[in-house]
């Protein structure tokens, strides 16, 4: 890492602090049914519809592991370049809450299904490796709804028992920007794998953030605080910024940092103490006697590995090597699965460089303006592809293409139809062009003379005039050639 370009330090009274951040990402496993019951997992169902006797913890009900969820966790582990543990154990994490029907959450404590791994971030100052401590499977709790009634709390168990992967990073992150890149990278990997949809609004991706600070050069970690369930990357960055500064202020005022859990207040952009270490729950973890330890066959892992889709890092390498894209371009294209899918659809039949320019340029501008994602793009990949082909084949000029693109945004219309119905096809008939050029030259005799006496800059003026007369349809290349001849 190039230290000179990395400048996320907090300076206070001539002391310089660095910020140490570790993340616990909770990612909902993409699966049709829950981790230990056959209930569906669909989002947005009416309350308490997707609930089985197991999810509601009726007497005598027993959990049975969903093999698909296990495979999803293994795939994610492989995507994080992590060690897959052939032996793992489900434990009970005991605590009382109204939306936790069993009175315990089934999780993995000492023996998680996935061990250490690594993800690579592309930062402006170079690549940075972030260590993964572990990934484990656990059940989600239900949802308590406190604002429906002044006196009662309502409980919705639809989410109760849904499979989550908790991905714990090592304390390797050093700035809100790195946190941003990390979450996006993890999300992207899981979306490529199809193991989590990464939808933060629907709560399929949540994170707890551990923050501590220390003087630059100090090798020991400071006392950390955990910020719970911050539900967007933006808020996460604000929360870290606030929390790090709060800790520095405390230290500079001669106080000690208490290890505690803090809540982020997104209205005031501050964090507040939720509970201190002394109030921390004693979860009384112990192996769930209703479930046998999870033993995986190496062959299962090998098969999953074999069928793994191309992941962003590999895709990027390929785009650079085989498509001759710059690292910057490749990075943008692979950052989200939907973008690379779109790109790969466009280049099935058209030029890679042009496709890259159009996607990262004009298309992204439109998406940004409309604040939508590429999967909601008003211009479909196939139509963009034929637009690009009309440019490469000389059917339309780049300028006309921009005009056509404008129209395409309104409704996802085939550019060929637009070009034909509006008569925008490029004029490439040399005889017709010559006629226009001669007309322009004879209308501007003075300028022709100035050109011939050395004012070669005027060439552009003549091109412009030709384009104007031709309503922009003249083939610029041909115009250039003919003009040069005529002006000799």
């Amino acid at each position: 890492m190039n230290k000179e370009k990395f400048d996320y330090y907090i300076k206070k009274n001539s002391n310089i602090y660095e910020v140490i951040i570790g993340l616990e990402v909770h990612a909902q496993v993409l699966s049709k049914s829950k981790l230990f019951s056959g209930s569906p997992t669909v989002f947005g169902a009416k309350p308490n519809i997707n609930v089985s006797l197991v999810d509601a913890a009726f007497p005598g009900m027993l959990p049975v592991i969903n093999k698909f969820c296990v495979e999803q966790a293994v795939k994610t582990g492989l995507g994080l370049n992590a060690k897959i543990n052939l032996f793992s154990v489900f434990d009970r994490k005991n605590y009382f809450y109204a939306d936790l029907p069993q009175g315990y959450q089934i999780s993995q404590y000492k023996n998680p299904i996935v061990g250490e791994g690594v993800v690579v971030l592309d930062m402006p100052y170079g690549t940075k490796k972030i260590g993964i401590e572990r990934l484990h499977l656990e059940q989600d709790a239900g949802k308590s709804i406190h604002d429906l009634d002044p006196n009662c709390t309502y409980v919705d168990l639809n989410r109760s028992g849904v499979a989550l992967m908790e991905i714990v990073s090592k304390p390797d992150l050093r700035s809100p920007e790195e946190v941003n890149a990390y979450i996006k990278k993890i999300r992207s990997i899981m979306r490529y794998l199809g193991t989590c949809d990464g939808n933060m609004q629907e709560g399929s991706l949540r994170a707890d953030v551990n923050v501590s600070v220390r003087l630059v050069g100090d090798n020991n970690f400071g006392t950390r605080c955990e910020i719970k369930n911050v539900n967007s990357i933006k808020f996460m960055q604000i929360a870290i910024e606030h929390e790090a500064n709060r800790q520095v202020d405390e230290i500079e005022n001669g106080k000690k940092i208490d290890q505690e859990t803090r809540l982020f207040d997104s209205k005031k952009n501050i964090t507040r103490s939720m509970r201190t270490k002394e109030d921390a729950h004693d979860y009384r973890y112990f192996p769930d006697p209703d479930l046998l330890p999870l033993r995986l066959e190496q062959s299962l892992i090998d098969n999953l590995k074999k069928d793994l889709p191309e992941l962003p890092d590999e895709k990027k390498e390929r785009f650079i090597k085989e498509h001759n894209l710059s690292a910057y371009e490749a990075n943008i294209l692979v950052s989200e699965k939907e973008i690379s899918d779109y790109y790969e659809e466009v280049i099935k039949n058209s030029d890679k460089k042009l496709a890259t320019n159009w996607i990262t340029g004009d298309l992204f501008a439109v998406l940004n303006k409309k604040n939508i994602s590429i999967s909601e793009s008003p211009v479909g990949a196939k139509n963009l592809s034929s637009l690009i082909n009309m440019i490469s084949s000389g059917k339309i000029s780049g300028r006309i293409a921009k005009e056509v693109f404008e129209i395409m945004q309104e409704k996802n219309q085939n550019p060929k139809q637009i070009v034909e119905s509006k008569g925008l096809i490029q004029q490439s008939d040399p005889k017709k062009l010559e006629k226009i050029i001669l007309e322009v030259l004879s209308n501007n005799k003075d300028k022709v003379e100035q050109y011939k006496s050395g004012k070669v800059k005027l060439f552009g003026f003549f091109v412009g005039q030709v384009m104007k007369v031709s309503d922009g349809k003249a083939n610029p290349q041909l115009v250039n050639e003919i003009l040069k001849n005529k002006l000799k």
Binding site: L53, A56, A57, F58, P59, G60, M61, L62, P63, V64, I65, R92, N94, F96, Y97, A98, P101, Q102, G103, Y104, T153, V155, D282, R284, Y285, F286, P289, D290, L291, L292
Partner: protein, 485 residues
């Protein structure tokens, strides 16, 4: 023809199949006897009217190929029964009606049996005398004011009093074998994983097993064969080929090696029990089997180990009874207050005691010293048995250190109560099968049991040994129907 209610399960099945009597006649006789036997308090919920109706229907559409055709059958109230209140002997489930049927009871109904009612038991199966039940003490038909043992006390009492031709219990630390011993009946704790736990109110998941309680060994084999099945809904259910235990039952134990563990000679054990055990050893020798002295060196640690593991699991298993979803709810000022009031009111003293012990041994700072150590000792106990079973086919021990005691005698002394499980608990910790059969009477005339422990999934062996011993012992219960109105 002798009285219907005195017949064994096999005799009743044969009688119905040969149309000597009908399912309805049988059911009627048992229902009448149950009604006259309310004093024993063996039932929590009766299903008499329903049973009579169903038995009548069975006449019309009888399926004689079933293994328990039209047999009225009462079960411990720890098994969830669809549409019938299931309490686990607790106030906290006093209003709980399951919408589902446990796998084991379903297996029994699938073979034609008819639910007669739900039998009393210690609260959440925690107890050795049935005195922890919210629904009151159960009396042992053997004698007035005598406990029937526990936790399957209602089951043992009903069986011994001829209120049901056979029944089922659950055994976590001896809850089938000890009451069988106290009532002069036969009780089998199967290998862990043989009978599905699905739909049984959980006490300690790694120890709980359902098992048959019957009048003789032949009945036991038949009922066990019906109960045991592989169940995908229970992750600890084991998929193995189950024997036709009943058809394969025989008394030939010639050449078998039967182990006698010296550690089961405990200090202060009544001489009657010692005598009984010696008598059993003689019978074994006479049957052509070899007696082998063995050692199970960690036996002494079994009871403390059990009283860490079982409460630890129970403290977590019982967390779901919180007043939120079903069962008792006592309103409070807030969520925590509601929890506290509901659980204070809903659970009895023994259950609370075990929840507290379990919570303590799992707490951070104590986990390693208690729970983890107990798990290690548990492994040692299991390996003791593994070593012993290299040399022997089965192990013979007494079932309990005493015969039935008086109601109230031990209620204020939990440790002396816990000592009742001293011979039965190691078997649960090791996950092995064991059967208790009546071995004789003590000087008070109360029944005493002998326990035969087997290798995992070798129930057939211990059933055969028990069958052989049963013939030699020729036990006759001396129950005198004193409770009848």
């Amino acid at each position: 023809m002798s009285e219907i209610i005195k017949l064994t399960l096999n005799e009743l099945v044969a009688g119905i199949k040969k149309k000597k009597f009908s399912s309805h006649e049988v059911t009627k006789d048992f229902v009448n006897r149950c009604i006259k036997s309310k004093k024993l308090n063996s039932f929590i919920t009766d299903n008499f009217d329903n049973a009579l109706k169903i038995s009548k229907k069975f006449e019309i559409k009888s399926n004689q190929n079933k293994q328990l055709p039209g047999i009225p059958f009462a079960v411990k109230d720890l098994f969830c029964t669809k549409g019938i209140k299931t309490t686990a002997g607790s106030k906290i489930l006093n209003n709980f009606i399951p919408s589902y049927e446990s796998t084991v009871t379903q297996n029994i109904w699938n073979e034609g049996a008819i639910l007669l009612g739900k039998l009393n038991c210690d609260e959440f199966a925690m107890g050795s005398s049935n005195e922890t039940s919210f629904f009151g003490n159960v009396e042992n038909p053997v004698g007035k004011k005598l406990v029937p043992g526990g936790s399957s006390g209602g089951s043992a009492s009903a069986l011994a009093a001829n209120l049901t031709p056979a029944t089922i219990g659950t055994d976590t630390g001896g809850s089938i074998r000890q009451p069988a011993s106290f009532t002069g009946t036969v009780g089998l704790k199967p290998t862990y994983g043989s009978c599905s736990r699905w739909g049984i109110v959980a006490f300690a998941s790694s120890l709980d097993q359902a098992g048959p309680m019957t009048k003789n060994v032949k009945d036991c084999a038949l009922l066990f064969q019906v109960m045991s099945s592989y169940d995908q809904k229970d992750s600890t259910s084991v998929n193995f080929t189950r024997e036709r235990y009943s058809e394969k039952l025989n008394q030939n134990i010639k050449g078998m090696n039967i182990g006698i563990p010296k550690e089961y000679r405990v200090e202060g054990m009544p001489s009657d029990i010692e005598k009984l055990w010696k008598q059993g050893i003689e019978y074994i020798k006479n049957s052509g089997a070899n007696i082998v002295d063995i050692t199970l060196p960690h036996t002494n640690y079994a009871l403390p180990t059990y009283y860490i593991v079982a409460p630890a699991e129970a403290s977590s298993n019982l967390a779901r009874y919180d007043g939120v979803k079903y069962g008792l709810r006592t309103d409070g000022n807030n969520l925590i207050d509601m929890y506290e009031k509901t659980r204070s009111e809903g659970f009895g003293d023994e259950v609370k005691r075990r929840i507290m012990i379990g919570t303590y041994v799992l707490s951070s700072g104590y986990y390693d010293a208690y729970y983890l150590k107990a798990q290690k000792v548990r492994k040692l106990i299991k390996s003791d048995f593994d070593t012993a079973f290299d040399k022997v086919d089965a192990i013979l021990t007494p079932s309990t250190p005493t015969s039935a005691f008086k109601i109230g005698e031990k209620t204020n002394d939990p440790v002396s109560m816990y000592l009742n499980d001293i011979f039965t608990v190691p078997v649960n910790l090791a996950g092995l099968p064991a059967i208790s059969i009546p071995g004789g009477h003590d000087e008070k005339g109360f029944p005493l049991g002998l326990q035969i422990i087997g290798k995992a999934f070798e129930e057939q062996t211990i059933l055969n040994v028990a069958y052989c011993l049963e013939q030699k012992i020729n036990f006759k219960n001396q129950i005198k129907d004193w409770w009848l109105k």
